[in-house]
């Protein structure tokens, strides 16, 4: 039980570091002087000291929605697969619930964008609605496929099963599902081919546009939500698609898990440096690819059993 709570706190603490790490890696690759990996904490501390400025056009939604954006994600963190062997974990919550909780968070984020009566918020919400509508089917199919291989629809138990009996005989469908999930990881977290988290240019904004009107503590909450969302996806990817390391003793297992998270972050950083952002209407092609891979994975599993 202590390990369970510890791992959740650890993931929450590591979340801002991961995002800063991606940014730092990108800066190194672009021959810039990198920011510190603790920049996320500094931003958080700075925002917590600021006053909150609320737009006069907004309503009760802006007052409550930031909390409702963060809380489903925090609840989701309790349902993630375990990172150490023998520790307590919620074994039964299935993929559909996790997807639903993430959608709940996105739902309130989109309402937040529309609340401030500025065109920027509308742009962001509209694009986010478009992208997340296409992400949903790929997500359900991919997680269905991996849970078939793991032999359990509950995500926590699936992670354990995969680590204990790696499905070597289903390698092909496993890889297809992995590719699909990686695309989803990028799409849901608004990383570069889908959305550029660093610019404030209306041509490219999705996530940033929705939160343009927030400041102070509210902005800190939303930024935390973004980093927690990344760590949720990264740890799902780490437990389901790189399923090893859990069999060691607790400290080593945790270190391996953190190393996996940083590996995923590095992958994302490399991808961000090497690709250009897609036009909004090219995004369905990428997400369509994710859907096709999810289907391929399931079809390979059913038909070939491979």
């Amino acid at each position: 039980m202590i390990l369970y709570l510890f791992s959740i706190v650890l993931l929450a603490l590591i979340a801002p570091i991961l995002l800063s790490y991606i940014k730092a890696t990108k800066m190194v690759l672009l021959f810039k002087r990198p920011i510190s990996v603790f920049q996320g904490y500094r931003n958080f501390a700075k925002l917590m000291h600021k006053e909150t400025i609320i737009s006069e056009e907004t309503s009760a939604i802006t007052t409550y929605a930031p909390f409702l954006v963060l809380s489903p994600l925090i609840v989701t963190m309790f349902f993630l697969p375990p990172i150490v062997h023998g520790g307590y974990y919620v074994s039964f919550v299935d993929a559909f619930t996790i997807t639903g909780l993430i959608s709940l968070s996105t739902f309130f984020l989109m309402l937040l964008g529309l609340d401030s009566a500025s065109a920027f918020g509308g742009i962001g919400s509209s694009r986010e609605a478009f992208i997340s509508a296409l992400v949903e089917p790929a997500m359900v199919l991919t997680l269905f496929s991996i849970s078939l291989m793991a032999g359990n629809l509950g995500m926590g138990q699936a992670g354990v099963n995969l680590a204990e009996h790696f499905p070597k005989e289903h390698m092909a469908s496993f890889l297809f599902a992995g590719i699909s999930f990686f695309i989803l990881l990028i799409a849901e977290n608004g990383r570069i081919p889908i959305d550029n988290p660093e610019t404030h240019l209306e041509l490219t904004m999705v996530h940033e546009a929705m939160i343009l009107d927030l400041s102070g503590v509210y902005l800190a909450i939303i930024e935390t939500a973004a980093s927690i969302k990344f760590v949720i996806f990264a740890s799902l990817f780490a437990s389901l698609f790189i399923p090893f390391g859990i069999e060691f003793s607790a400290p080593i297992a945790i270190l391996i898990f953190i190393a996996k998270l940083f590996l995923i972050a590095t992958l994302v950083a490399f991808l961000e440096v090497n690709t250009a952002k897609l036009r909004l209407f090219k995004i369905p092609n990428l997400l369509g690819l994710a859907i096709v891979f999810a289907f391929l994975s399931l079809i390979t599993f059913y038909v070939l059993g491979a």
Binding site: E51, T52, I53, I54, S55, E56, E57, S59, A60, I61, Y64, F67, L68, S71, P72, I74, V75, F92, V93, D94, A95, F96, T97, G100, S103, L104, F107, L111, L114, D115, S116, A117, S118, A119, F120, G121, G122, I123, S125, S126, A129, A133, L134, E136, P137, V140, F144, S147, L148, N152, L153, D213, G216, V217, I221, F281, P284, I299, Y302, V303
Partner: protein, 627 residues
């Protein structure tokens, strides 16, 4: 004449649950209706007739109440005739509902052998001796699905529902469609029981198609009530997916999974009743204050109408299937039943169920987008018209109707185990295995899926943890004592105004553009350019209208063919005498020639010659000169 088994009682409860809040709402709405007696008479007869349908025990009573239900709802659509489109919509509804009625009548005439007052059990005996059960199945489908609004018989919904007064739209969409689902349950179980596999697949396919088509057209809609009507198509589709899965599992011998799917379908029926009634009531309140159904004329109503906005939000979360709402729970059950399809051995069936999973997941994603649009454009931002600016909260009765309905939505979420136990009893009554003990094996906290290694969801724990964490954060925000300042929205140095906000059309823009091949929208774009510059203009006007593809393909092409035929019949009927003589001559010529062709040995040369003679004769005598 009447029967009160558990299935009937469940639907009686559904009607009563939907009606009680509706009565409050309707009496609040009454002062704005001119033909009060006409409205009241038909309103109560409508409710009474729906109750009659679900408790009737023979075909005659069933058909009587069914027809009464159709006629009263048709009259209710005609309560407030202000525009010509209302009459057109009512006529369309009348036509569609009687199209369905004909097939129901045919079904009953066959399965009762013409003796319309025998019980359903006797009907089963006759139906089992009938040589073409699939024909009976299709009669049932056409009869009930034209009422329930599944593809391709869904076209009337977005026309008829918006035209009715709001309490009636809430009843029609929330309850009347469910009465058709009751019919499916009753007659497929009681009369046509051993189902071939193809029937289940047909219903699954129709359900998957309806859910996608409904939500896609809802997204392109700016009329708020038409948007909700399109969502009814979607939700009927979801119910049919559960129903179809149940039939498939039953045929393949997975009895427990089959019961689970049917319970999911029944549960979604209840949930759709609750949130769709609530949505129609809230939309009706908005419409009542702003006097327009056009979403582009709303905006900022959350400040003036907080109760309406809150109830709409609860219903929107529920219909978008977001946890921990009741809509999520039933959709979760339907998903779980589809995910259990991995036990099926038939590979092609297994693969095709994947596409239904895809359709349902896609529907979920698009429904979220659609309700962000409906809620955000209607209630958030700044008012977009004068009426929206001066709107205020509706009267007490209407408010209490909405709040009561919101309580029903919440109760469906809180008391899920109770409802599921009840649905389980109904299915035991229909001869299915009981699964309640398997869904809730260890108390009411965890809801299990039936399939091997299925998932588990704990609605109450989810709800409490979400509430707990949110309240904790809000409490610490208060304790923290953050300074708050109120200021303008930042809009790059410009002032925000109602016109700079996103519109509903704009919000759905990316999705509409992606599905352009399906929508094929009529776009009107007029702009006054300045000095010939393409990018500088003084005023511009953009209008987009999407006409459903099904309407274009099925309905308009049928109209066109009939028009074409009737044009030629008209031409024939108005010939002059000389032309008739010429026609008779030509027909005689054709008879002679064809006799020769058939009786003698065939030769191409004479055939071509005769053909040319025929053509020349037709040209000269019948068609004549072009004037």
């Amino acid at each position: 004449m009447f029967q009160f088994d558990t299935l009937s009682l469940i639907f009686v409860a559904l009607i009563i649950l939907a009606t009680i809040p509706n009565l409050f709402y309707s009496s609040g709405y009454l002062p704005h209706i001119e033909r009060k007696i006409h409205y009241q008479l038909h309103y109560f007869t409508f409710i009474f007739s729906m109750l009659g349908v679900v408790v009737s025990a023979n075909a005659l009573v069933f058909l009587f109440f069914w027809e009464l239900m159709s006629l009263t709802s048709w009259q209710l659509i005609l309560t407030e005739v202000k525009e010509k489109s209302t009459i057109k919509a009512a006529r369309f509804y009348f036509l569609m509902t009687h199209f369905g009625f004909i097939f129901l009548l045919l079904f009953f005439l066959i399965v009762t052998d013409g003796n319309l007052d025998i019980s359903f059990v006797d009907m089963k005996l006759i139906a089992s001796h009938f040589a073409y059960p699939t024909m009976l199945f299709f009669f049932l489908l056409l009869g009930f699905l034209s009422k329930a609004g599944a593809v391709p018989l869904h076209v009337w919904l977005p026309y008829a529902h918006p035209e009715a007064p709001s309490p009636v739209s809430a009843l029609m969409s929330g309850v009347m469609l469910k009465v058709a689902i009751y019919g499916m349950f009753r007659f497929l179980f009681d009369v046509l029981y051993p189902w071939p596999l193809e029937w289940g697949i047909t219903i699954l396919t129709l359900g998957a198609l309806s859910s996608l088509v409904g939500v896609l057209y809802a997204l392109s809609e700016h009329d708020i009530k038409a948007l909700l009507a399109n969502h009814s198509i979607e939700n009927i589709g979801i119910i049919l997916i559960g129903f179809g899965m149940g039939m498939i599992f039953d045929t393949l011998g997975f009895h427990i999974l089959s019961t689970f799917s049917f319970i999911a379908a029944l549960f979604h029926t209840f949930n759709h009743m609750s949130f769709k009634s609530l949505l129609f009531m809230s939309a009706g309140a908005v419409l009542h204050q702003t006097h327009t159904k056009n979403m582009e004329k709303y905006g900022g109503l959350i400040k003036a109408m907080p109760v309406t906005a809150l109830t709409f939000l609860i219903a929107a979360i529920s219909i978008s299937a977001l946890p921990p709402s009741n809509g999520f729970l039933s959709e979760w059950m339907i998903f779980q039943s589809m995910l259990s399809s991995s036990h099926i051995e038939n590979i092609s069936l297994k693969l095709s169920i994947l596409f239904a999973i895809f359709a349902l997941a896609m529907t979920g994603g698009l429904a979220i987008a659609c309700f962000v649009k409906a809620y955000g454009i209607t209630f958030l931002g700044l008012h977009r018209s004068t009426n929206a600016k001066y709107a205020h909260e509706v009267n007490f009765l209407m408010k209490s109707g909405m709040v009561l309905m919101a309580f029903i939505v919440i109760s469906l979420m809180l008391f899920t185990p109770f409802y599921i136990e009840w649905f389980d009893k109904a299915l035991i009554g229909l001869g299915h295995a009981s699964v309640y003990a398997k869904i809730f094996p260890d108390g009411i906290w965890n809801m299990h899926s039936i399939g091997i290694n299925g998932g588990i969801v704990s609605p109450l724990i989810l709800l409490f943890s979400l509430l707990g964490i949110t309240l904790l954060m809000m409490f610490s925000y208060k304790v923290f004592g953050v300074k708050t300042r109120i200021h303008n929205s930042w809009a790059c140095g410009y002032k925000t105004s109602p016109k700079t906000q996103y519109t509903a059309t704009g919000f759905a823009g990316p999705i509409r553009r992606f599905f352009n091949w399906l929508y094929k929208p009529n776009e009107h774009f007029i702009k006054q350019t300045i000095a010939g510059h393409e990018t500088k203009f003084s005023s511009s006007h953009y209008k987009v209208h999407v006409k459903p593809l099904f309407e274009k393909v099925f309905y308009e092409s049928v109209t066109n063919v009939i028009n074409f035929i009737s044009y030629w019949v008209y031409r024939l009927a108005h010939f002059e005498q000389l032309h008739y003589a010429a026609m008779i001559f030509n027909i005689m010529l054709m008879v002679l020639f064809s006799y020769r062709v058939f009786s003698n040995e065939f030769s191409w040369a004479t055939f071509v010659l005769e053909f040319i003679v025929m053509m020349v004769s037709i040209k000269i005598l019948l068609i004549g000169d072009k004037k």
